[in-house]
Amino acid sequence: MFRSRVVTLGVAALVLAACGGNGADAPQEKKTELTLYNDKGAWTKYFEEMGAASKQSIGLSIKPTGYTDSAQYQAFIKASFRTDVKPDLFTWQTGGMLEQIVKQKQVADTSAIWQEAIKAGDLSKDLLPYYTIGGKQYCVPMNVAYWGMFYNKRIFDKYDLKPPETWDDLVKTADTLKQNDVKAFYHTSVLFSFVWFEQLLAGTDPDLYDRLSTGRAKYTDPGVVQVMEKWKQLIDAGYFINPGDKTDPADVLKNGKAAMVSSGSWFNTSMTQRDLKAGEDYDFFVIPNLNPALPKTSMIFESGPLCSLTKAADPEAGTKYLKWWTTAEAQEKWATSRGDVSANPKVEIDDKALGAVTKDAGSGKYRLVNRYFEATPPPVLTAALDGFSKFVTQPGSYKEVLETIQQAADEYWSTQ
């Protein structure tokens, strides 16, 4: 009996050992293909193209694995910190999310890459703060995006409308469209429910926006309540499509279900995928401030990082790849294939409107405001996304919504 138990345990131990990963002292592997995990499943084709280009240029290719559910993706990346299954490269978010993982001391320091790239003019100093934690840089910009209004040019031409210069112009445009039974704006109750909140708040009081993101203002403060009331007025005026419409916003714009979609410049990729031409089928304008007294137009800005881990199978290869990623050669390809702007100031894109915005943004014409998604700590963000999702379907609930978000904010900031 005893012997059979020993045999059983022995077999089990062998099975477990066979299932386990490499030992801690296994020789470090030199890789020629790096895994790139990302939550941008729709961009697999573009990542593959980059892999082919990098293989030619630096002898390293990439194998992208794209998730479409960001929650699942984040859980996988977090779990990888505790296991041997580590991505060589992965995409992430700036702000609180990046701080969270940097604390684990496994994200590779990219300070040297940044210094070199800034010196060579491949990265702008303006981006540094988004990637700096405790005086060091981590990750490099996978993408940057400026937010503004994409509009259906054919609808604008039909009703003789021009891109608005002021907030009042924008409202007049929405009125004209309404008179012609066209919904002016897109909004949604799923995930991107925060878009109009950040736009209206940043265009009214960008300082309050910053204070709110850092816990120095409350969601129940009069300034925030007024923004919600303004948002409610716009919804009540009938300018928005139904937030329950599940049509992809790119199709909403293409089909003319709504004449305008507020989005980041990456929306251009969706337009490209639908064979739509900038300047002919659609175009882009900077959304004017709600408060005309502000010295600069507030523009929502986002940058998504591409990171590597110190404990990955071949960290040197990861660093080499990130360095290549910032170069003009890589960025030219990355921006052109997606029709989007680049983090590298040397790269110019064909889209005239977006090209001009990028140039102006680089010269300090706008007040860049970090996107709400990155600027807000994750636990507050979750409550806020749910709250705004409720608000867009029941605009009368704004006070209750703000109180619920503030509860989550109080809970979070009390532990910081």
Partner: protein, 277 residues
């Protein structure tokens, strides 16, 4: 000879069950007593997650929606499945009548939701066909009822199949005897067929009970529990708290509560059925 090695034969399965079921469950139970963001080591906070559960208005909504799912799952897919089975099981070519109900069962929960999303969306196919302007997935609890109907569309076939198998396998003699005594239609079903099918019904309803309690995929894909958390079920709340809000401790507390409720409901239900038969 066989006796000496009997533990050896069972060991692989036992190890798998212990490693893949009991160990994660115990880990989840432990996490439910901690604050944990998935990265920093868990901090022990005792029962605070559980006290928070009872103060959380979102959990009240999730519980209400889960109850709708449980009752709805037992009434609609099971009740209609029984009806289709009874009406078709002794018909010539009955299998052909049942076939359309069976086909949707081939879809996974997530696939099912993907198919129905453009149908139920505002301005979607259902709006066009019915000539209405309703966002079926927007207002609670109507959005839960809409998803329940979708679920019925998928589950009806398998319940029908189970009932047909049950109807075909019950002894024919008592039915013949009852017919000779003049029983037919509803009376024959109510007093003879239904009692004979009781063991099978217990299983079908038991499965429906558990399926209702753990409803997740269809809700997650169609509404993600929204808008504003109004269509969340307990399983969706568990997922959202854990993986979206990164509140692994609180999410684990919801998981423990859901496990206790499911275990208790199944135990009480099956105990009642066993006692009755």
């Amino acid at each position: 000879m066989l006796g000496r090695f009997r533990h050896g034969y069972v060991a692989p399965a036992a190890l798998l069950v212990a490693g893949l079921l009991y160990a994660p469950f115990l880990w989840t139970a432990y996490l439910s007593l901690t604050r944990y963001d998935g990265l920093e080591p868990p901090t022990w906070i005792g029962l605070r997650n559980f006290t928070k559960l009872f103060d959380d208005p979102a959990l009240l909504t999730s519980t209400r929606n889960t109850l709708i799912w449980v009752v709805g799952t037992m009434v609609l897919p099971v009740g209609l499945g029984l009806l289709v089975a009874v009406l078709s099981y002794d018909l010539r070519g009955g299998a052909w009548y049942r076939l359309p109900f069976m086909l949707p069962y081939a879809l996974s929960g997530a696939g099912l939701a993907m198919v129905w999303s453009p149908i139920l969306s505002h301005g979607g196919i259902a709006n066009l066909m019915l000539g209405v302007d309703t966002a079926f997935l927007q207002d609670a609890p109507a959005n839960t009822v809409a998803m329940l109907l979708v679920w019925t569309w998928q589950q009806l076939g398998v319940n029908t199949l189970l009932f047909v198998v049950g109807l075909q396998s019950i002894p024919k003699d008592p039915i013949e005897a009852a017919r000779l005594d003049g029983a037919s239609g509803w009376r024959l079903f109510r007093h003879v067929i239904w009692p004979l099918m009781r063991p099978l019904t217990a299983v079908v309803v038991g499965l429906a009970l558990v399926a209702g309690l753990k409803t997740f995929d269809i809700v997650w894909v169609l509404t993600q529990g929204g808008p504003g958390r109004n269509s969340e079920t307990l399983a969706v709340t568990m997922y959202k708290e854990t993986f979206v809000a990164s509140e692994y401790g609180y999410g684990s507390a919801v998981a423990v509560m859901l496990t206790v409720v499911t275990g208790l409901a199944s135990y009480l239900y099956l105990k009642r059925q066993v006692t009755a038969t």
